[in-house]
Symmetry: C2
Subunit: 402 residues, 2 copies
């Protein structure tokens, strides 16, 4: 299981550049993994995602379980065949979504109603797992560690994540401690299931939980480090501020076996990626780049704006500028589309805006990671990060991007 | 104005194959013109539309007038620059949309409420034109023949259509007669405006109205034939049944000068295109192929199903078939995506479904027109039509498609 399918080729401080060898091919790391939540990177076909340079996508266990169902996908040849993506796929454990129905967010708790509506979908949480109602058809469903592993295996994931509860920021230490303990017991059951049933060459990662509590995080990281898993994923609440997030990642990695790959769940901001790579993270997945695109925002080399450009703003109404000078994506290339045009498309709710911005934002992420890998190999990650944090675009020739 | 910018290279019965020379390049005819209503073929970027083989798109005068406004588009270099489409563009006259706010459809009249809501947007219809409220911001707007021409010129259309009232099916003969007369007076005003203000090389087509009444249609066609316009467009109600539509097209073309190009507005069904090409139509525009795609239907060589395949139907839930064997589009090529996958994407409301089906349906239309042009040149339009009407795909090698 933890069969050395990760090869580290270069180190730069705690950062590593390497290759993760999966059943469906290799993934150069550090890598950003786009979300293919519902068996598609929203708005793109699989050939386009590959052409952008990505080598792995993340499918969503919970959503695919409910629609169209993992049995159907298995019958049709697995998720790779289903979505015509022949490279590696990670699937998340489903834990985040299944528990989200109960947790809600802090904002939702304040608003009240939405949390209640969500809570009503959870019927029971027990040591076995979670009983809930499907948002698709209201049918009663169950997901526990074995179900999660079964679904991920049926989908044909190259890389499965152990079933966990992703504790949110607003739960207290006591809840976090008890939840993390249960996640550890679930990890054992996932390891057991995986060792008996998973096809050869499929990888299982354990997930480090423990919220924002140093001792709980480190204890959880030690537990995952000791487990016979191929890699370590860091999940759960990483805090409300970037400083705290970096601290939590550092705790979670402290006991991690250096030879195993490490995945950071749900983090995708430019500065967070650079800091986490420096701390020793190898892969990332995050909804932000593609979600921002669908809501009209482009990633741009502007640290003060958190790398975001909101094209819906009326100041772009008559701007002849492209989204970003020098970006090789289909929206920017040759100054093809102006901010004025994209502003108009965003305001008019046109599909083409979602598509062009998705292509742009994923191009940004792909080139950022190209630069990260190249600079680690050249021993210049710190200098690269400094330039990006100072506002250099990842497509700049000096950044190491193509 | 009617300066011989249309070159007929081959004839097959009444059908013609040729080249329409526009300010922004040539269009091989017969051609299907995809809709770029809101300055985009929904979900595709302009480079993709060109790659599909289309040489002209149709922009919408009414919608672009209201959002983002023709002055802004002109300031930004015109519609070609704005949407990065450097080939010819037709713009419709805006008449259809502006009057639709009042007319509604028969179905809407039966339902009642929607027509009232729409009617409330029209403030006044007079000899001058129409005063109405914008659906974007509620502002009062006016469109008459000169406004329509001004907007189309500001957009930079290669081919403008004279302002008309598109009479719907359910209005009576008397209304149709009076409306058609007014459309003729508006045609004179459009010709006048065009001759004074339009940049050189821009084409103006007159529109034949007259509803389903033989004498009114023929009188209207004679009026347009006598006008100093570059081409003839056939608009308005073409009847409720295909037989009647063909009759109306035949009346409308009877007095048309044979050397001028003829456009049929809003028609795009496979059998209607074949019949209309045989009657002497050169270009078509229609929302159907792209609209069907966005609603989950693919065009397939199945005459009995009116060339439509509804992928939302549960019978495709586990189908391993592609949409259409032999189709070279990104959705079908190499059997890449199954009906099961597309069914799932359609049901889940995924953008990728709209995109893949739009690419498929426009590929179908492009290849259909390739076959039409090739068969006219080979004197075999009737045989080609017979094969397509018998269920042969336009991608079949014997069809003349690539």
């Amino acid at each position: 299981m933890h069969d050395g399918k990760f090869r580290i080729d270069a180190r730069d401080g705690s950062a590593r550049a390497g290759v993760l060898v999966c059943a469906h091919g290799e993934v150069e790391t550090p890598a950003f993994v786009p979300l293919a939540t519902s068996a598609t990177v929203k708005g793109l076909d699989s050939a386009e995602v590959e052409a952008l340079g990505f080598q792995m996508v993340l499918g969503n266990t919970f959503h695919l379980f409910l629609q169209p169902g993992h049995e159907l996908i298995a019958e049709l040849g697995g998720l790779h065949e289903f979505m015509a993506w022949r490279r590696p796929i990670i699937t998340d454990s489903g834990g985040f979504q299944v528990f989200s129905m109960g947790h809600g967010s802090v904002a939702e708790e304040i608003k009240g109603s939405r949390t209640n509506e969500r809570q009503s979908r959870i019927l029971e949480i027990s040591e076995e797992g979670v009983r809930f109602r499907s948002y698709v058809d209201g049918a009663e469903k169950f997901m526990g560690p074995e179900t999660s592993m079964e679904i991920q295996a049926a989908l044909g994931a190259d890389l499965a994540l152990a079933f966990d509860e992703c504790t949110p920021f607003h739960v207290d230490r006591d809840y976090t401690a008890r939840s993390t303990e249960r996640t550890h017991r679930w990890l054992d059951r996932c390891v057991e299931w995986h060792s008996r049933h998973a096809p050869a060459g499929r990888l299982l990662y354990g997930i480090v939980q423990g919220g924002v509590y140093e001792d709980l995080r480190i204890a959880s990281a030690e537990r995952v480090a000791a487990a016979p898993v191929a890699g370590v994923a860091v999940g759960g609440s990483l805090g409300q501020e970037k400083e705290q997030m970096r601290e939590v990642v550092e705790w979670a990695l402290r006991p991690a076996p250096p030879e195993k790959p490490r995945h950071l769940l749900g983090i995708g901001d430019v500065d967070d990626i650079l800091a986490s790579v420096a701390a020793g993270i190898d892969t990332f997945d995050c909804a932000t780049p593609t979600r921002l695109a669908r809501h009209g925002s482009a990633l741009v080399p502007d640290p003060e704006a958190r790398w975001r450009l909101d094209l819906a703003k009326s100041r772009w109404r008559d701007s002849r500028e492209p989204i970003a000078e020098g970006c090789p994506c289909p929206a920017c290339r040759g100054g093809e589309y102006t901010r004025a045009y994209l502003h108009y498309l965003v305001r008019a709710g046109e599909l083409t805006a979602k598509r062009l911005l998705t292509l742009h934002n994923l191009t940004f992420m792909a080139l950022l990671m190209d630069g990260v890998r190249e600079s680690i190999r050249g021993g210049s990650l710190e200098a690269y990060s400094r330039r990006v944090l100072a506002g250099e675009g990842p497509w700049s020739p000096t950044s190491g991007g193509p």
